[in-house]
């Protein structure tokens, strides 16, 4: 998921950075003082999640948790993921500083997309089954979309799309299942102990 330095062409790096700046600006606009702790803690969860590896095939993949962030935070996932990725880049040398913009966009945009696709389940008082399905979908779809965006970034630099996408998608299939289940478990847990969080009170308010 983390694209290294020197892989992508400058045009893609700059456009990725521009999109990330825009997304982060939208996200920051939506943050109120009372929401800062939840954004911070989800950012911390994202930062740590990348250390959890699931060995599959030649290279192992790791948890992303962007579906969970998108499900709860909406556009605020952008600043949360940006901070998490910047620290992963600086401390663990995952990805890189020049590719930070592209990487943030690749992981945060699917989170926002999932929010718009399935966020309705968070808002109203839906049945538990509906919430479970929506949360599972959020967790797995976000990873799938991120994988496709990574493949697309590589394609725009010169790789052929189909083989690149195949590798990314196949190696992330187990992660999709795990992320879906984890996001579902988190959503059900939060619904039990802190339903306001999923009510949209702290979530994205403006569609």
């Amino acid at each position: 998921m983390h694209i290294s330095e020197g892989v992508l062409s400058p045009v893609i790096l700059v456009s990725g950075a521009a999109l990330t700046v825009a997304g982060t600006a939208i996200g920051l606009k939506h943050i109120d003082a009372e929401e800062i702790p939840s954004v911070g803690i989800l950012s911390a969860a994202f930062f740590v999640a990348s250390l959890i590896h699931v060995p599959v095939g030649p290279v192992s993949a790791h948890l992303v948790l962007n579906g969970l962030l998108g499900f709860i935070l909406g556009w605020k996932a952008f600043p949360a993921i940006l901070v998490g990725l910047a620290l992963q880049g600086l401390l663990f040398q995952y990805g890189g500083i020049t590719s930070l913009g592209v990487n943030t966009f690749n992981m945060a945009m699917p989170a926002v997309a999932c929010y718009y696709l399935l966020g309705w389940a968070v808002k109203g008082r839906h049945k538990q089954a509906a919430l479970s399905v929506a949360a599972f979908g959020c967790g797995s779809l976000a990873v799938l979309m991120s994988g496709l965006l990574v493949a697309l970034s590589l394609t725009l630099t010169g790789d052929a799309f189909v083989p690149a996408a195949k590798v990314v998608v196949i190696s992330h299939l187990p992660i999709m299942l795990i992320e879906g289940t984890l996001t579902m478990a988190c959503a059900l847990y939060l619904r039990k102990v802190k339903p306001e969080l999923l009510d949209g009170r702290y979530a994205q308010r403006y569609l």
Partner: protein, 221 residues
């Protein structure tokens, strides 16, 4: 004003309590699974032995990177040769030319790493020491290593001495370098993880401070 502030802080506290568990679960999982290999970053390490360059490719967690592409570039960035790593993540090649070389590891999904080999590292170890010593009076004594070893040679010139020392150093240091390449690049350390979490909570604190400053210090007057 005070009541409102309390409401805000109470909300923050409860959200924190439930989200801390999510975070805690992640940390727990990480501690359990941290032994496995990682795909976030890849590394390549190259060393010269005689006329061959050996490379060792790994994932961030230290596991060998199998079947990845290794490209060798010259100082102009032109590709000289391409190869694939074996099951142990190793790939060796003959020195194609004695300029600065860059070994580039290209793994799938946009992972990439480089290792530079300066020209002097390639030049100082002649492929065949006996032919590289041009002094005609000495050529015979230097024909083969075994033959050379048997003789007590006094009065070698500077160049012969250099060749000999390089050869010995090469032989002695190779296992050390190999071991070094095994030792470098382990996964992220606990201090880095804790440090990162500290940064995030520090940022949260700063953001809260800035946003609450107005409420906490109402303009006097």
């Amino acid at each position: 004003m005070d009541g409102m502030r309390n409401v805000i802080y109470n909300h923050g506290g409860v959200i924190q309590a439930s989200l801390v568990k999510v975070c805690g679960l992640s940390i727990l999982l990480w501690l359990v699974l941290s032994g496995t290999s990682s795909a976030h970053r890849v590394t390549i390490f190259a060393w010269v032995e005689g006329d061959t360059v050996h490379t060792q490719s790994k994932t961030g967690g230290g596991a060998p990177l199998k079947n990845a592409t290794v490209k060798v570039l010259d100082n102009q960035g032109k590709r000289l040769l391409t190869g694939r790593t074996d099951a142990k993540g190793a790939f060796s090649f003959q020195i194609p030319q004695k300029t600065d070389l860059t070994v580039v590891l290209d793994a799938s999904m946009g992972h990439r790493a480089e290792w530079a080999i300066p020209a002097q590292e390639l030049g100082k170890m002649p492929a065949n020491p006996s032919t590289s010593v041009e002094d005609p009076t000495r050529t015979e004594t230097l024909k083969g290593r075994e033959e050379f070893d048997k003789k007590v040679v006094i009065g070698m010139d500077r160049r012969e001495m250099e060749v000999l020392i390089n050869q010995i150093l090469d032989r002695k240091l190779t296992p050390v370098i190999r071991q070094l390449s095994e030792l470098t690049h382990s996964g992220p350390k606990t201090t880095e993880v804790v440090g990162g979490l500290g940064y995030i909570f520090g940022l949260v604190g700063i953001a809260l401070y800035i946003l609450n400053r107005k409420k906490n210090n109402p303009p006097s007057g």
